[in-house]
């Protein structure tokens, strides 16, 4: 999963290595380091902001080792859900128990519906929903989509999936 961390270094040489080495030791993948040389926290430390990928189990160990190096870990944000896909639904979405539809995806544990907007014209007409599903990886996303497709078939809803994006066009 992706983690973004605020770390505070003492203003002495060699500190940055002490902060980043544990991440490599745990086979984490550092993606971005912002080292604000000229800034100081109220404690007089130098803030750095690191974004890296690490396994769920590895994060605790990384934090332990960084702190063992006498470097302050000020804040940790976990971004567990990094793959996203937008889909639409058409049909009597609310009246076929929309909560159940959302739960079908949310209860997987590896995917969630993170955004949902709806357009509901007159009572007898069908509704449309725009949903964003986020999952912890590509596999999780594919599985979540499968669940949504099955649920939609059961409820007589039409799923509109996106085309497979090609890197060139992004």
């Amino acid at each position: 999963m992706r983690v973004s961390m605020d770390i505070e270094l003492k203003d002495t040489p060699g500190q940055l290595v002490l902060a980043l080495q544990p991440i490599s030791e745990i086979k984490g993948n550092i993606q971005s380091v912002v080292h604000c040389h000229d800034k100081r926290t109220p404690r007089g430390t130098v803030p750095i902001h690191v974004v890296f990928e690490v396994s769920k189990n590895g994060l605790e160990e990384v934090i332990r080792r960084i702190e063992a190096n006498d470097v302050i870990v000020a804040r940790v944000d976990e971004k567990r859900l990094r793959e996203q896909i937008s889909v639409m639904l058409i049909g009597h979405i609310v009246h076929t128990d929309i909560r159940e539809t959302i739960d079908a995806v949310d209860s997987t544990g590896y995917a969630e519906i993170v955004d949902l907007t709806m357009n509901m014209p007159e009572i007898k007409k069908v509704s449309s929903a725009f949903m964003v599903i986020a999952a912890d990886g590509e596999n999780g996303l594919a599985l979540a989509l499968d669940i949504l497709r099955t649920t939609a078939v059961e409820k007589g809803l039409l799923v509109i999936e996106p085309i497979k994006e090609n890197a060139i066009w992004m």
Partner: protein, 337 residues
């Protein structure tokens, strides 16, 4: 070398071929391509002239009388009328029959079997018998070309077979039905509902009186099958395509998609293991968000990466242009032999 050709089927496409041969007479002459139409057959009549038919008169006769020449007796088919006529190439342009592919399938197999090259715009025979057709052509050492069956004037069949030869094709995605694309474009532009826009399309001649082949995705699926067989040689048929049409799309759906930066298009997707035709979300900035009646196809390959082609997907002259290109290709190859 004079190439004698027959035109079987004299509706919009057949007449388009005649018109195109007429207006490009000089161009063809300058290219050193000598083509003569020696037979034309429509559903009820035939016209034969081994010295070459006067195409202008033929088109006029069709316009005035509704048939091309002498009415055949009920027992004679178009095929029998031209069976004994010696010529090099048949253009098969009879109406597409999705279920059986007939009578085009019989016409084409017979022509190939009797040593004639074939150029066609007819999807029907390919949907269930792709391999048989290709093999028959090969076994008889003649050429069968069918660029006009998919995408009208948009080059795609020959693009895959010739320009992308040597590539492994991973996936093809395309908008292959201009009627559906027009309807979705108009619904999004004006917020009009499906039925209203369908009526509009029918009035403009963009949709048929019975639009079901288009709006239910059947036409797109037929073309997708032809593309898949061309790209993968995996002998798929119409039954292998998962099809969803556009009849359930509402203006509210399109509006909501638009708010989020998307539009909806009827997209056909073909990979070696999966064939689908379904309405899909397409980012408004993506080339597949093409507008109006145009067709577009994206081919994902290993060596040439991604190739995208678009063009006018239907129309008498446009479809005939693809037929003409195939005829010229065969002429040149035949001459070289």
């Amino acid at each position: 070398m004079t190439f004698r050709i027959s035109i079987i089927g004299f509706g919009a496409v057949g007449q388009g071929v005649a018109k195109v041969l007429l207006c490009k007479r000089e161009t063809l002459q300058n290219m050193g391509v000598d083509i003569q139409v020696v037979a034309i057959a429509d559903s009820r009549s035939s016209l034969i002239n081994s010295e070459g038919i006067d195409l202008e008169k033929a088109l006029q006769a069709k316009k005035t009388n509704g048939r091309i020449g002498n009415e055949r007796t009920m027992s004679d088919s178009a095929l029998e009328a031209i069976r004994d006529l010696e010529h090099e190439l048949m253009v098969e342009a009879t109406p597409t029959n999705i279920k059986t592919g007939e009578p085009a399938l019989t016409h084409i197999l017979h022509a190939l079997g009797s040593g004639k090259h074939v150029v066609t715009s007819n999807k029907g025979p390919f949907i269930h018998n792709h391999a048989t057709l290709i093999n028959t052509a090969r076994d008889n050492d003649v050429m069968l070309r069918y660029e006009a069956t998919v995408g009208g004037a948009m080059p795609i069949i020959n693009l895959i077979q010739e320009n992308l030869a040597g590539n492994t094709i991973h996936r093809i995605e395309g908008i292959l039905n201009g009627t559906c694309n027009y309807i979705l474009t108009r619904m999004a532009d004006e917020g009009l509902d499906y039925h209203h826009v369908l009526l509009e399309a029918q009035e403009l001649g963009i949709a048929e009186t019975d639009p079901s082949y288009d709006v239910m995705g059947i036409d797109a699926a037929s073309k997708l099958v032809i593309l898949a067989n061309t790209a993968y040689g995996n002998n798929v048929t119409f039954a292998d395509v998962q099809i969803t049409g556009i009849t359930e799309i509402t203006p509210e759906t399109l509006e909501l998609a638009d708010k989020n930066g998307y539009t909806i298009r009827l997209v056909g997707e073909a990979s070696k293991d999966l064939l689908t035709v379904a309405p899909k979300l397409v980012s408004k900035k993506h080339p597949l968000a093409i507008r109006g009646t145009l067709n577009i196809a994206t081919i994902h390959t290993d060596l040439s990466k991604t190739i995208t082609v678009s063009g006018v997907g239907a129309g008498s002259i446009e479809t005939a242009s693809a037929i003409l290109s195939d005829i010229i290709h065969i002429y040149k190859k035949h001459k070289a032999h």
